[in-house]
């Protein structure tokens, strides 16, 4: 392989003016993805960014890579076609809570179970932004939006639980207001061989401002979230004095010394799923970082292996073999 030129984040900026609302969380995700791509040592022409529809899905236009702005909910399916057609490409899906979990929910779960080697960045702002403020499949119950003026009645998805349930091999969560953490998580996703699902808590300043404020503001972040680092103890708190320990089927707060070690590589998705239950407990920190990271063969690799195996066995078929099969007969 030829020497890859060291790329910088700016090499991934297209000449298009970024048109998200001032203060939108999308800006920091764009920057995080550009930095991560630059650091991967992959030639720029080998990146393909695919999106669906929604605010987040304008993303490919701002990236100086190959890209396709698809149709609503279908980015995962389009990206599957790109990756299976050419596994040498690094394929990234940009989607949102409406695009990826509502209209595109089916493609999301199937691309995760197939373990197509692509990076799925789901911008979760718990609202439909581009259509100007309707409740989404992650909007908490009771939320007042334009289509739920008396409060939303729908029970929401927890995106991490959905991904785990679908058999995802890599599941992680980060937030728009912590670029350093986001970079770590995106890097881990980029290095994962297989479908990598990353939920990004992203603030919509116009239609759902402050949705994550109680967890992400600097003043409370260390107390209200916990960064799960593979192989390290589960510690949180401003003074890093608290920990989480697993006790049978429960997770309890303990001292930092007593904290259990987090391991997202275990076969069972059970511990990760248990960790997501903390999202429902007001007094507990919400889990961030890498919740699951396991190895499983990817669909794209298996497809090509199978083509190779069948070709090895039957020999490369020619156009003539295809048409002139042994059951044909000749009329003189």
């Amino acid at each position: 392989m030829s020497v890859v030129q060291q790329l910088k984040a700016k090499d991934f900026k297209s000449d298009q003016e970024v048109r998200w609302c001032p203060g939108c969380g999308d800006y920091s995700i764009l920057s995080g993805v550009q930095k991560t791509m630059a650091d991967m040592g992959i030639p720029r022409e080998n990146y393909v960014v695919v999106s669906g529809i929604g605010c987040s899905s304008r993303f490919p236009y701002y990236m100086e890579t190959y890209g396709m702005h698809g149709i609503h909910g279908r980015a995962n399916a389009i990206a599957t076609g790109v990756k299976v057609a050419n596994p040498d490409l690094s394929v990234w899906v940009i989607t949102g809570d409406g695009d990826g979990l509502s209209i595109g929910g089916n493609h999301m779960i199937h691309s995760l179970r197939r373990n197509v080697d692509m990076k799925i960045i789901l911008f979760n702002n718990e609202i439909y932004g581009l259509t100007k403020g309707q409740y989404s499949p992650t909007t908490p119950e009771g939320t007042k939006t334009k289509t739920s003026p008396y409060g939303s009645l729908d029970h929401p998805f927890n995106p991490i639980q959905l991904a785990l349930g679908a058999g995802a091999t890599f599941v992680a969560r980060t937030m728009d207001v912590n670029p350093k953490h986001m970079k770590q998580v995106l890097q881990a996703a980029a290095e994962h061989k297989g479908a990598a699902f990353v939920e990004v808590w992203q603030n919509c300043v116009i239609f759902n401002d402050g949705a994550y404020k109680s967890w992400t503001e600097k003043a409370v972040r260390d107390e209200k979230t916990i960064n799960l680092v593979p192989g390290e103890k589960m510690i949180f708190g401003k003074d890093r004095d608290k920990g989480l320990s697993t006790d049978g089927c429960r997770i309890t707060v303990c001292s930092a010394e007593e904290a259990s070690v987090w391991d997202p590589t275990v076969d069972s998705a059970g511990p990760a799923f248990m960790m997501t239950q903390l999202d429902n407990e007001p007094d507990m920190p919400r889990p961030m970082g890498v919740l699951r990271s396991v190895d499983r063969p990817t669909l794209d690799q298996q497809v090509w292996d199978q083509v190779g195996a069948v070709t090895g066995k039957k020999g490369e078929g020619t156009l003539k073999d295809l048409i002139y099969t042994p059951d044909c007969w000749v009329v003189e």
Binding site: S14, Q16, R44, E45, N46, Y47, V48, V50, S51, I53, P60, Y61, M63, E64, T65, Y66, G67, M68, H69, G70, I71, H72, R74, A77, I78, A79, T80, G81, V82, K83, V84, A85, N86, D88, L89, N106, H107, H110, V303, Q306, V307, V310, T311, K313, K314, G315, E316, G317, L319, K320, D321, L322, I323, Y324, T325, D327, C328, W329, V330, V331
Partner: protein
Amino acid sequence: MSSEELITQDDVTIRFAGDSGDGMQLTGTQFTATTAKVGNDLATFPDFPAEIRAPAGTRAGVSGFQIHFSSHDIYTPGDDPNVLVAMNPAALITNYKDLRPGGIILVNTGAFTEADLKKAELDSNPLTDGTLSGFRVVEEDINQRTMEALADTELSKKDKLRCKNFYTLGMIYWLYSRPLEPTLEWLQEKFKNKPELAEANAKVLKAGYNHGELLRLFQGHYEVPKVHDAPAGTYRNIMGNQGLAIGLVAGARLAGLKPFLGSYPITPATDILQHMSLLKNYDVITCQMEDEIAGICTAIGASFAGRLGMTTTSGPGLALKTEAAGLAVITELPLVIVDVQRGGPSTGLPTKVEQSDLLQAMFGRNGDAAVPIVACASPSDAFDCAVEACRIATQYMTPVILLSDNYIANGAEPWKLPDMDALKPFPVEFVTDPEGFTPYRRDEKLARNWAKPGTPGLEHRIGGLEKDAVTGNVSYDPENHQKMTEIRRAKVLGVRESIPTPEVHGAESGDLLVVAWGSTMGATRAAVERLQKDGVAAGHLHLRHIWPLPKGLPEIFARFKKIVVPEMNTGQLALLLQSEYPEFRFLKFDKVMGKPFRARELKAHFEEILEEKS
């Protein structure tokens, strides 16, 4: 007549009918394969219920397979059978009326108990109540004969009885002097790992054949000599879906590309996905996706990545693919969308034939989103049409809809294989030079250039939003949208520069022109030939290209006094022609009964038209 007497016939139609579980489709396909090897021309029409196993013995569960074979060139699976094989009362009662007067009915009396009659909703036994007067009824307890043939075999009674269709096949092989070898070889291969079943079926097949002679059930037997005037060449028996599968693979190859099929199982298109899945050693990738939408979207993604994306479906699936087809239109990516039509609307008649998706193919997308449409006429035409769809898709950077139907999909006929030299490549050239590159730079045909990911310096974005005609960036400019809409339309209309004006078969001018498309071709041609024999100046114009319509049509239309368009819908092509050529009057002739036209009914209708004062 003695049983030894051999009578030569020129043209025979046989219908095998039985319960869904009786193996009639297998019996029919075996008879077809053998008949193809004998050198007859043939056409088949399988007709089966949507249910895999409707309640046994009921009318709803009757499965039929008709084969028309001949010593001369034929176009249809036959109007009325000479022979009906009825494996049970339901099969008999639902089919005997189609038989020609004096035709032979072979009945399996082993399935005519009181209970069997009741399941078929019969109050009296049609074998004894006079229902079948005027036909030559041959009664045989095929169940019993099968059990006797397998008396020494170590199989369960159920497994033994399952062999009964081979007894029937054996009898019909004797009746029409067909060799047993092709089926015996097939059995060896099919039951390679279950030799006891291969042996049992072979034994029963031979028993049926020998008893045909020994039991003197029939008054003599027949031969249908092979076609003598068949054009020299190599032939293969082909079914429509199979022809499409290999045509799509060949078409991609001729474009210098590797095919990618993203699909979802749907009757009657599934065989294409199944067949292409076998062809992995031809650089074929197939992905059975989670739904119709994912099928087309993966194909679009694969085309973006530089393969030739394809998706196969039927009417309801085409409806689901609508939005994504529009994405392929605006991103100007090559894509072949195959629609094997069936009866609609909605789930409609999933296993029956109709041509009612033409206007969906034409207009079924939001926005002004024209796509070229190609329609195949028969199983042997499927290969050429698939190659043609690949040519248009890649040469014009556009999705193409390729229409087939259930009648073509499951029908079989001998296919004269193309000379390899006659398959002209149409290689795609990917752009690699960054100098002056923009995604929507176009050639003289208005096709945009195609740069695939992985090519340095050509990074670009495409998508569903309108793009600037020059820079390829998102554009909401009013003049630009007008311009891009016109370019996309002109590009598709420009396809007509690359397609020939179709030839009129029959009279070049005169009283009646019959314009047909898709699988009505065979019956139309047969009907027009019969009219000509009667001295009528009638011509048949078959349209392979539905959109854009070929050049030169008004000149043809002007040469005839009347124009009629028979269709298995309520006049969709007629509507299109009427709007494109308002100076002519296009008469409609519709049939939406889930069954193909018969040549006889077409001829009768054409005669009525000819008699009417215009």
